[in-house]
C-alpha cells in the first residue's frame, strides 16, 4: 500500500479530530483541562508490531478494544504506570465510588474510546463501534490484523491534574480500513 504525504496528512488530521473528542470527554470525566499533542503516524512491519508496541507502552498500563462494524483494527489507550493511581483517585473522589483500579481504568478507557470512535464516525460518515475495553496482558491479544505493514497512529493526551498525567492513544487500523478511510476523506473534499 503506497500512501502519499497528503493522504498521511489527512489520516493525521482524522486522528487529531477523533482524539480531540477523547480529550474533551476525559476532561469532563476528570474535571480538568486535558491538553493534546499533534498525532504521529508511522508505518510498522507487522512482525515488528509487538516490539514497537512494547516499546511504546513500556511503563504504561494499556487497555484495548477492537473497532467493529464498518471499520477494523485496534485502538489502545495506555496510562503512565507511575501516575495511574492519581487518575484512579480523581475518579474515586469525584464520583464517590469504590471499585478496583482495573474497573475504573476500563471505564475511563471506555469513555476515551467512545469519544474517539464517535468523532471518527461523525467525521467520515461511517457507523463504527468498538468492543468493550480489556486490559492488555500480552501484546499478541492485539489480533485482528493480517496486514504485512500497518499504520500506527499515536497521540498523547495530557490531563492537568497536580502536574500532567500521560495517556497515549494508539490506533492500529487494518489496511482495508485505511483504504476505506482514504476513500471517505477524498469524498469530503468533493
Amino acid at each position: 500500500m503506497i500512501i502519499s504525504d497528503d493522504q498521511l496528512d489527512a489520516i493525521r488530521e482524522t486522528i487529531n479530530i477523533s482524539a480531540g473528542q477523547s480529550a474533551t470527554a476525559l476532561s469532563e470525566l476528570l474535571g480538568c483541562r486535558v491538553n493534546m499533542e499533534v498525532p504521529e503516524i508511522r508505518f510498522v512491519e507487522i512482525n515488528k508490531l509487538g516490539e514497537v508496541l512494547s516499546e511504546e507502552t513500556k511503563s504504561f498500563l494499556s487497555f484495548f478494544s477492537n473497532f467493529e462494524k464498518n471499520f477494523s483494527g485496534n485502538i489502545v489507550v495506555a496510562y503512565e504506570e507511575n501516575q495511574k493511581e492519581k487518575l484512579v483517585s480523581i475518579v474515586i473522589n469525584r464520583y464517590g465510588i469504590s471499585v478496583d483500579e482495573e474497573n475504573i481504568l476500563e471505564e475511563v478507557s471506555n469513555i476515551v474510546f467512545g469519544a474517539f470512535v464517535g468523532g471518527l464516525s461523525n467525521f467520515i460518515g461511517l457507523n463504527i463501534t468498538f468492543s468493550p475495553p480489556k486490559k492488555v496482558k500480552v501484546l499478541e491479544e492485539l489480533g485482528n490484523i493480517s496486514d504485512s505493514v500497518i499504520i500506527l497512529g499515536e497521540v498523547l493526551l495530557l490531563p492537568e491534574v497536580n502536574g500532567k498525567i500521560k495517556a497515549k492513544i494508539l490506533i492500529i487500523p487494518t489496511r482495508e480500513s485505511v483504504s476505506l478511510l482514504l476513500d471517505k476523506l477524498r469524498g469530503l473534499l468533493g
Partner: protein
C-alpha cells in the same frame, strides 16, 4: 469581498475549509501550517478574518491568537479546533476570538459562523 486567512497544520483541513469558504464567496488570501509562518503570512496578507487551529506543532493557536491580535486588534479570529473543552473555548473567547467551531463540523456550519462574524 471578505478576505480570509486559514491557519491549520493539516493541509487536508486547510483544503476543506478553503473549499467551503470559496464556494460561499469568500476570498482566501493566505494559508499557514504553523505558528511562525502564520505570523509572517498574516502581516503580508492583512486578512479581515482568520480561521485558527489550536493544536499545532511548536506554537499553539492560542499563542498565535495573542500575537496576531497585537498586530491587528480588530482582526476577527474564529478558532477551528478538535479541542472542545469548555475552559479552552472560554479562554480563547476571553483573549479576543470571535467564535469557536469544534471539529468535526459541517462545512455549512463554519460558513454560517464566518458570515455572522464578518457582519458583526
Amino acid at each position: 469581498m471578505t478576505r480570509v486567512m486559514i491557519i491549520d497544520d493539516a493541509k487536508f483541513m486547510r483544503t476543506l475549509i478553503k473549499k467551503a469558504l470559496e464556494d460561499a464567496g469568500f476570498e482566501v488570501v493566505g494559508e499557514a501550517d504553523n505558528g511562525e509562518k502564520a505570523i509572517e503570512v498574516f502581516k503580508e496578507v492583512n486578512p479581515d478574518i482568520v480561521t485558527l487551529d489550536v493544536v499545532m506543532p511548536d506554537k499553539s493557536g492560542i499563542e498565535v491568537l495573542k500575537e496576531i491580535l497585537k498586530i491587528k486588534p480588530d482582526v476577527k479570529v474564529i478558532i477551528v479546533s478538535a479541542m472542545g473543552q469548555t475552559d479552552m473555548i472560554t479562554e480563547a473567547l476571553n483573549l479576543g476570538a470571535k467564535d469557536y467551531v469544534v471539529k468535526p463540523f459541517q462545512p455549512h456550519t463554519l460558513v454560517e459562523v464566518i458570515k455572522r462574524v464578518a457582519q458583526s
